[in-house]
Amino acid sequence: MDYSKLNLADNPFTATPISGRPVWCGMQKLKADLERRLQISLRTSPSSIILNWGNYGSGKTHAAKFFTSDLTLQDAMAAAGLPAPPLAFYIGFPRVDRGAAFNLTSSIIGKFGVADFASKLQQTKTTLDAVSVGLFANLLQEYCDDSELQKIFHKLVQGDPNDQDKIGRVLFGNSSSADLRELQISRKPDSVADLCRLVTTAFNLFTYRSAQILPLHPAIHLWIDEFEDIASLSGKEQDALAAYLRNLIDWCPRYMTMFLNFTLTPVQSLQDLGLYLGDAVTSRIRHRIEFAEPDKPELKAYVREMLNAPGVRQQPAAEGDAFAPFDATAVDLIVDSVSPRTPRRVNDVFSSYLDIAAETDGMVRITESIVRQFAADIGLTL
């Protein structure tokens, strides 16, 4: 659709930002709260869990994508005066075709890719062994007391390109007996504890620091989206996942922050999450961030910033006309009527009006009367 007559390069209220970089508009209090948690994670050492909760469409997924994007992490690094950015993962809730804990591990390792995972371990080994020969092996021994799992890490740092596919299959649980024999590994990592140990060992190595050694990454941020889906797992799977998360925190006790995105549903309240996670995990939740409905001024700021985000306008908006092509009164009317007042719903409504204007001949402004004319079609009750 062509939005040029509205002085827009594209519809800014679509799911994917025009610039390709996730943008954050409005809701500065929420952003500040999340940023503060991220900064705390970079300045303090204990691992913790942060629970992000709110209604459907309140922006939790967007926040996860925004705060795991490279550019945001670079900004966080600069703000904290660190030499390297945190290592951040955005992971959808692990489905259960092969077990939730297994799929979570696969998702984490899959985010690196085997080559990158091996490369980070090699970098870590080089840094550690430059300060003290054998330090890498000693730390590996400390973080991972299983000799067969240690062998996987040794194979990864050896960096033999012929082994990479085979190690990949071991890490992703697809290895054959022949793979294991060739790698001289006696057993596959297949228990929940093994899978967790692989991840935590890597995280511990990547964040290791001393007076002479700077960490490869100052912190690990693990965002797990749609965590309410834990309710759809069987009781056994729920317990396995809760045990995995508990081990993740216990075995990686420093420099890791886990963000769990939880959407409230008619059948699940926030308190019910404790029924699934158990005391051991729930007690590690350090902070809860509510993705509350923004108030009207916040919502107007959100719309204004969305319409004026980088790359949205073909020409800068005229002074005093920051909501163009919407009249300020039209924006007031929509903001007063929109329900639920979540970013997703606001995006839907404003996007629909822009589409109507773009496809209607001669319509270059969206006025209060146009808002009224199409309100019923868009589901607005004025």
């Binding site: 075709d97 309710a231 549903t265 059948v267 639920p340 409504v349």
Partner: protein
Amino acid sequence: MQPCIIDSCSLLHAFHVQVGVASLSDLVAKHFDVVLPRTILQEMQTVLGRAHRHWKERGLVVEEFSEIRRIHAAWTAPKCFDGDLELEMRSVGGVDLEHLGAGEVACIALARGISDREVSYVVFVTDDYDAGECAKTIFDKYQCGMVIRSADLITFFGIRFKLAKAEVHQSLRTLISFYTGVYESLLQEAKSLLPGSEASYIYPFIQAGDLDRAKQAIVRLPLNAATRTRLTTLVEDVSALTGDKSILSHSFSRLRELERLQL
């Protein structure tokens, strides 16, 4: 042993809910004299056909469809009641049962009949709130039985066998996960029928449980009659599944109670 009649959905799930080392269906079979109207068996087949794929996807069952059918057949065959329920159907007259399914009506009628014939107090297991309420009215009037839900049965066996709280907890959560799956399937279907899918302004209403508003909005949508009717039914099903007296609310309340209890 006390006679026990089980509604189709409750029985269907009982095969896959472990309570300690045994399945709920096996425990029921060992502790009660289970009798099932033929209609229930037919309903189970239909529901299983619809549900099995979703169960597999969510990892709630590992067995193939045919294997589950075989287990059902072996379990239900000796318990099936093939007699005529005409007389019993008439004997529950006076209570409006029209909004119930054929299987639920047959269960209530059979309970009345067994109670009369054997002078016994029948246990009727159902997770359908409306069926339970109708049955209660009739059972109270004729003093012929009691209504319980799957969550109550799990709690009963948990206490009876002195199971660890964690085991009872896990069983209740597994039961909830089956119904959460039903809830998600309803949402998915509603999403697929709504114009604009997830982007439809009605979807957030359904998601947030604002179902009256969702129904009002569906009426205004330019939809064909079949889609509108199906969407309205779906919203009503979501409402029945998520309401205060629904199976999910009841099971959660049992779970929360269990958290507080010192067993």
